[in-house]
Structures are given as C-alpha cells and as structure tokens.
Amino acid sequence: MTEPVLVVGGGPAGLAAAQALSGVGRKAVLVEKEDRLGGAPILSGYAKLVPTGEWARDAIGGMVGRVEGEAAIDIRTGCTVKEFAGEPGAFTATLSDGATVEAGAAILCTGFTHFDSVNKPEWGFGTFPDVVTTTQVEQMISSERGVRCPSDGRKPKRVAILLCVGSRDRQIGREWCSKICCTVSANIAMEIREELPDCHVYIYYMDIRTFGLYETTYYWRSQEEFKVKYIKARIAEVTSDGERLIVKGEDTLVKRPITIPFDLVVHAIGMDPNVDNLLLSSIFDIELEPHGNIARQSAYGGMGRTSRPGVYVAGAATGPETIDDSIAQANAAAIAALSAAYSTAGKAA
C-alpha cells in the first residue's frame, strides 16, 4: 500500500492515528469537519484532564501542534467525506470541497456528540440559567474566569452535580453508561472546592463508576481530601423559589424526601453517538452497533475493523471512551490498517 491512509475526524483518536502513520513513514490525509483540530477536549474547551491533571489545551493542543508540524500529514479542516468507493488498497474519497483523495485504507475517528440536556426538561436546563452542564463548568475553569452562577456572576455557595444526565435512561433511549462522567464530575467537584473552599459540593448518584485506579485518585480523594458529599438519589426535578434553585428527590439511604436549595446545578452530561453516524454508515457502507455507534468486528483480533474491509474505527466513534483509550485504539487501528496492507502486498509480490 503506497496510497495514503484517510483519517476522518481530528480529535484525540484521529490525531493519534495520523501521528502513528506518519511515524512509520506513511502519508495520512486528515479530514476534519470543524475549522480546527483537537476534537471535544479542544472544541468544547475542557479544563484539566483525567487522569493526568494536564490542561486540555496543553495535552491535546500539543498533539495538534505535532500533527500540524508533520509534512506527511495532509490536513483538510472544514471538510467532510461525501463519497467513498473502491477496494482495500485502492479507495477514492470525494470530499465536500470537491477534491478527491486516493487512499489505501480509512480510519474513522469521528467521535461522539454531547448529550443535549434540553431532552431532560425536568432537570431545568434551558429553563433556569444557573443549571449548566459539565462542559460549561469545564469552560468556566479553562477560561480562568472561575466557577460562577451565569444568572448574576456570583460565586456559588452550594453546588449540586447530577450524574447520568442522558445516560442509563430507557425513557430517552440511552441505554449505556457514558463511562467518564462520574470521574469527570469528581474531578470538577475537587476543582470547585479548590477554587471556592467555602462552597459545598454535592454529587447525586445512582452508582459511582470511577473505574479502575480512579477509585482512589478521584472517588476517595474527592471525599477524603476535598469533602465532596455523595448522596444516593436520582433527582425528580429542579425548580426555583425565585432566588435559588430547588432540587427535589428521595435520599434513598435514609428513605426520606429531600428538597434542597442550590446556587448552581451541574448536569453530568453523557456521550451520545455522533449525530453524523447514520450518514457515515451510508457513505462508508459500514454497520452501526445497536446503540448507534460504529460497530467493531472484533474485540480481540484485527483491532478496529469495521464491517467493510479496509475501513477501521477508533475512539469515541465506537461508544463512550476516555481520551487515553481513544488514543490507544487509534494506534491499534493504524497498525491493523498497515499490517493488512503489508500482507496483501506480500501476497501480490
């Protein structure tokens, strides 16, 4: 395979795939829908990342810088793939700007879409300005303006973080755990307590899924060092008494109704399948899995293969993923694409 590899999506996964390919002397064409690279952490302005605590603009911004400095990576921003035809080793992609790209293989790194909290109206987003999402809090922190109530700019004294907003909910057809939001919420809670030591932070949960090593570094640490309070309750509704937000629910462990005032309510929003997935599925002629993500053919061998030979997938395009796992998957997909090309070339010779 001498043709370049087409990488679609310039988030952490796409950046890693392109970097991996150029690292072994292979050309890559990186097609990104938005006008800049970096994916969710950059486009949505995340603050300090789990698990390293590095700022997203440094960690992922650094990846962007390295990719932009690679001569072997042909970057096409503000662009999508319109048509895709051919066979492994000889694909032709037609881009939205009319250009055509010859590619030996394609790696889809098209990521996810943030859940839109307006779809859970009972929790007040879109009705009350002081109900915000984790993404907005990330932006408050990364912009260095600090965590404030949008209504009047005051420093909140009491913050409630509601977990699983847009995840694990049959009522709205979202039957998955978004994997990262428990840990991200614990992280945000600690950052709020660090910035505003007088502010009480409560996390309302059904289960806590700070998986693996995050148990101590996020869950325990947020409780033990930062005194973040965890309440086992799924909130019924968020209303307002005209001054403050009112959070109602049942504290299940004491079997008692709760009606508690807060200054700021944060929705820990989930990761939806990319809204483009149906389109991507028809353009690339690949299957989606039942939740609407791009389906992987195998979890163990031929990492990242889709239902179409020569087309691979990595990162949050396959379902909720962390950044480090997305990067690992992108490297695996790149090596799978290269080894497939190597074995066909070997047979032909």
């Binding site: 059904m206 799924r234 629910g249 079997k255 109704p257």
Partner: protein, 248 residues
C-alpha cells in the same frame, strides 16, 4: 410530616429494664430503654418471581433503586410511608415480613403513572404496585380492594355479554362493597343527566337497564375469554404456590 425515624422503631422491640446494672453502673428504668435491632434471618427467594408472575410485575427485576418512582409519586407526597422503591427492594431481596408491615397502604397507588414516565429502567413501578396488591389479596393478607372489586365486576360483565351496562355495574359495585345506592354525587349526576341529555339517548339507556343487551354471536368469544381467564388464573396460582392451580 411525622418524624420519619419514629416509624422505624417498633413497639415490640423497645425493651425497658426496671433493674439493670452494667459494669457496676445502675441504668435501671428509663436509662435502660433499648431498641432491639431488627435482624434479617431469612430471605424468601421466591418473592420476586411471584410478583413477576402477576400482571404488571414483569419488569421488577430491572430496578436499581434510584428512587425516581418514589420521588415522582403522587401518594408519597402526602404519605412518606408509601414508598414504591423501598417495597421493590423488599420484594427483590425477599424480605416478606417487612413488606407485610405495609400491606394496608400498598393498595393506595392511584395509578397516576408518573413513576412509569420517570423510571430510567422501565420497571413500570405502577404495574408492580398493582401486582403487589394482587399478591397480597391472593395470599390472603388483605381483603379485596374496592378497585379490584370494580375491575372484576367490569370484566365479568364484558365476558358474559360482550357489553357493559354502567348502571348495573354501579349498583352491583355498591352492593359488593356494602355501600348505599343513594349517594349524593350519584343523585346529582343523575339529575344533571336528566336535564341535559337528549331524549333518544335516555330512552336507549333505560332500555338497556331493562333488557341487558348482548353482543350478537357472543357465545364463542365468551367461551374463549373464559378459557383464557381460567388459564391465567391457574398459571398465577401455580406461580404463587397456591393450592392445585384450579381457579378459586
């Protein structure tokens, strides 16, 4: 609202010792009032399956105790002891004796279905409440509730004649629940009907009372329905371990 914690204390578990000395210290009388802890000694592992075998209880196994049903519940708002989440937990773990303590309020579900639309797992808690109320009746823990009596009358009539005739249902309902026929609201309603309804409709209603119409050619449908109802009854009795599986 009453003090919730008080409801957790059971009179039979309060122990006061007139004379008691612990490590040489006299703690007689009020000082030695203790509340014995409730110890769970056994689980009835069949309980969840029994509820699941009754209509409405099918999805009880999905519950993960988030509390959305209880916190959206119309009845819970006025009576904090009415707690669907808690009962689902008791049923799923098989704590039958705990469940039975609330047997006299479980039927109070008004089927507003707010929980149905709040539940993230589609447990259909309203259905579980219905199934639990039926279970209590079938096991002989509670008498038939008025709503069950009404449902039965309604179904009996539809099965028998393929039609319902409201006035006869109302009359029989009052009879079976031991209520007087002349009730203020009923009289007011009848008077309202007399004044507002078109004559033709009134005549048809009157005739229906006298002649009790049936749907023509109903007998086959009736036989099929009766067979089906009997089959369901048998199934349920078997699932609940009641008698020979023959209908009551």
């Amino acid at each position: 609202m009453p003090i919730h914690e008080q409801s957790l204390i059971r009179p039979e578990n309060i122990k006061t010792h007139d004379k008691l000395e612990i490590d040489g210290i006299d703690v007689s009388g009020h000082w030695s009032t203790f509340i014995e802890s409730r110890v769970v000694t056994d689980y009835n592992e069949a309980l969840e399956d029994e509820i699941a075998a009754l209509p409405g209880g099918e999805y009880i196994h999905r519950c993960w105790q988030c509390g959305s049903c209880t916190n959206s519940c119309t009845v819970n708002a006025v009576n904090p002891d009415f707690n669907p989440r808690y009962w689902i937990y008791l049923i799923r773990t098989g704590m039958e004796s705990e469940l039975l303590r609330d047997k006299d309020i479980i039927w109070q579900c008004i089927s507003c279905n707010k929980c149905t639309y709040a539940c993230p797992r589609d447990v259909e808690p309203e259905g579980v409440m219905k199934a639990t109320a039926h279970w209590l009746e079938k096991k002989g823990h509670t008498p038939k509730s008025p709503s069950i009596i009404f449902d039965e009358l309604f179904a009996e009539q539809v099965i028998a004649r393929g039609k319902i005739e409201e006035s006869s249902i109302i009359r029989q309902f009052f009879k079976r629940t031991g209520q007087p026929l002349m009730q203020d609201w009923l009289v007011a309603m009848a008077r309202g009907l007399l004044m507002k309804l078109p004559v033709g409709l009134m005549r048809r209603m009157g005739l229906a009372v006298l002649f009790r119409p049936r749907t023509s050619g109903w007998s086959k449908a009736r036989a099929a329905l009766e067979e089906y109802v009997e089959e369901c009854e048998r199934e349920q009795r078997r699932a609940l371990g009641l008698g020979d599986g023959k209908p009551e």
